[in-house]
């Protein structure tokens, strides 16, 4: 470890450089790679992901006493705003655009060990390391920087859609529900102080936020599964997604965000945070409708118009609007499947054709909407979307667990298979 005593003027110069150097590098690299729009979009995603996760991990580090920042200029909740944004640029678009094919792991390990490992103790009065600071550095790199660069590279090469939408959802969650409320409270007054709230209020708030989040996350999942794209218009879906939660409401993500801000406002007893929900409406009225008119309406002229005519923007329908009837095949000889089908029929189904067949597990499909054969718990989860809005939320929650679990199981099986037979060959 090197523990230098740097002059104050050099540290203030360092603060300028920590913001302006990544900004300049981003501009130069973006200009150099202007003929590769996917790489630029990847860089932007990495920046936004970093902005959210760096803030959250640094807040945690300060809370845990791993380090704290000195000075009182441009502080955003005890973090210098320029260093925060500069970090998101440096460990996002800069590294991703400068080294598009180098493994993020190879890029970052030398920085963690070489720069942070040696110079971190020389940063006072800009930054004061506390006990276990190295653990905090590793956490920031593992949670914020490493996934951010992977996100940029995967976006540029159109790989790993599932991981991409997961990282985008995490980044958006941090930005919308940690950074934005913090900024609102910085401007209008108020503080998180969750420890001062009653446990009952916190538990009720967490439960309500969990339920609302299902709606937003389900929308992201539907875009990836059946639209082959992300929720962000820069990396759009290839087809119009009208299944799942989209059969009930047109803007499930914006509705989820608005509801979470209202709940957060109630938990924090801060009316300004709750009023961020109004901003969600402003955003939809100003930006989302424009995007719908100039993108979705042009790409899917008939489908979009019909969809808009049947599915409301904000207030979810009780029963789904289904354009193309889906099929659920089950084995009547199987008691469990038979019971499930009877239960679904009793609740009432819309746009679902139930067929008896000799399948060992239930199968669901709707080729016209791009939903290829799903079986087992995923088939049940999609089928329950055909009942009502509550059923759809339950189905969405099941799918949010079942689909990633099936993917991870398949990856693990592949790994075991290649380890066993790859070695043998």
């Amino acid at each position: 470890m090197i523990e230098l005593s740097l002059p104050v003027w050099l540290l203030w110069l360092l603060r300028w450089v920590l913001f302006l150097a990544p900004l300049a590098a981003t501009l130069v690299l973006a200009h150099k790679r202007r003929d590769k729009p996917r790489a630029l979009i990847g860089g932007l995603f990495a920046f936004l992901y970093g902005l959210g996760t760096i803030f959250v991990t640094h807040e945690l580090a300060i809370e845990m006493g791993w380090w704290h920042y000195g000075g009182d200029t441009q502080m955003f909740r005890d973090i210098p705003a320029d260093i925060w944004i500069g970090g998101a640029l440096a460990f996002g678009p800069v590294l991703a655009l400068a080294f598009p094919t180098v493994s993020p792991f190879v890029l970052l390990v030398p920085i963690v060990i070489g720069v942070h490992g040696t110079l971190f103790l020389s940063l006072p009065p800009l930054l004061f390391p506390g006990p276990n600071w190295y653990f905090g550095v590793v956490l920031v790199f593992v949670v914020a920087h490493l996934p951010g660069i992977y996100l940029a590279q995967w976006t540029a090469s159109r790989q790993h859609l599932g991981w991409r939408v997961t990282l985008l959802a995490i980044g958006f969650g941090c930005l919308a529900f940690a950074v934005l409320p913090s900024a609102i409270m910085e401007a209008m007054g108020g503080h998180w102080a969750l420890a001062e709230r009653s446990p009952v209020l916190l538990a009720a708030g967490a439960l309500a936020i969990g339920v609302c989040s299902v709606m937003g996350l389900a929308a992201v999942q539907m875009f990836a599964l059946y639209g082959n794209g992300t929720a962000i218009p820069l990396d759009p879906t290839e087809r119009l997604v009208r299944v799942g939660i989209f059969a009930f409401v047109r803007n499930p993500m914006q509705l989820c965000s608005a509801l979470v801000w209202i709940i957060l406002g109630a938990v924090l007893q801060n009316v300004w945070v709750a009023l961020a929900a109004l901003m969600a409406w402003v955003f939809v009225a100003g930006m989302v409708r424009w995007h719908h008119r100039y993108d979705l309406l042009l790409r899917f002229p008939e489908g979009w118009t019909e969809y808009v005519a049947h599915v409301p923007e904000w207030r979810p329908r009780w029963r789904p609007w289904i354009k193309h009837t889906a099929t659920l095949t089950f084995d009547p000889a199987n008691a469990a499947q038979d019971r499930i089908v009877h239960l679904l029929q009793r609740v009432g189904l819309t746009g679902l054709d139930i067929r008896a067949g000799g399948t060992c597990s239930m199968e669901y499909g709707c080729e016209a909407e791009g939903v290829h054969r799903l079986d087992g718990i995923a088939a049940f989860a999609m089928a329950i979307h055909h009942t009502n809005f509550v059923g759809a939320l339950v189905g969405a929650a099941v799918l949010l667990v079942a689909v990633p679990a099936a993917y991870l199981r398949a990856q693990l099986s592949n790994l075991v298979f290649s380890a066993r037979f790859g070695r043998a060959s």
């Binding site: 203030w12 603060r15 300028w16 913001f19 302006l20 900004l23 501009l27 000075g71 200029t73 441009q74 705003a81 320029d82 944004i85 900024a183 609102i184 910085e186 401007a187 901003m279 402003v282 955003f283 009225a285 100003g286 930006m287 409708r289 424009w290 100039y294």
Partner: protein
Amino acid sequence: MPSVFQLRPAAGLVAGCGCIILAVWRAVDVFAGLANGSEHALLAYPLTVIFPAVLIAILLMFPPSQSREGLLMRVGTIIQLLLILALPRFALYLALGMPVVFLVVELFETRLPAPLRDRLARLVVA
């Protein structure tokens, strides 16, 4: 209607000159602060002046827009960024209120009487 929409050169020039004037005015503030022994304005200059100025420059250099509304959103964002430069005490409030810019443009395009809307839009759209 044209297939692409771009900013009038005069409007771009006004925005560019406005940005430079505001950046110089804020730099004067930095020197005044340093003369009084305060380095706050100096430390804040990159984020509060250079960053918005760079964003304005990028928006001015963007290629023509596919829709007039898209171009007006750019213009609205540039005006908001100029306000952020001009009113540092209200910068955070203005940044938080950015979505309102898009709502204003949407209302302008969808609610204003066509003759008035077109006349106003022609001030900035070539």
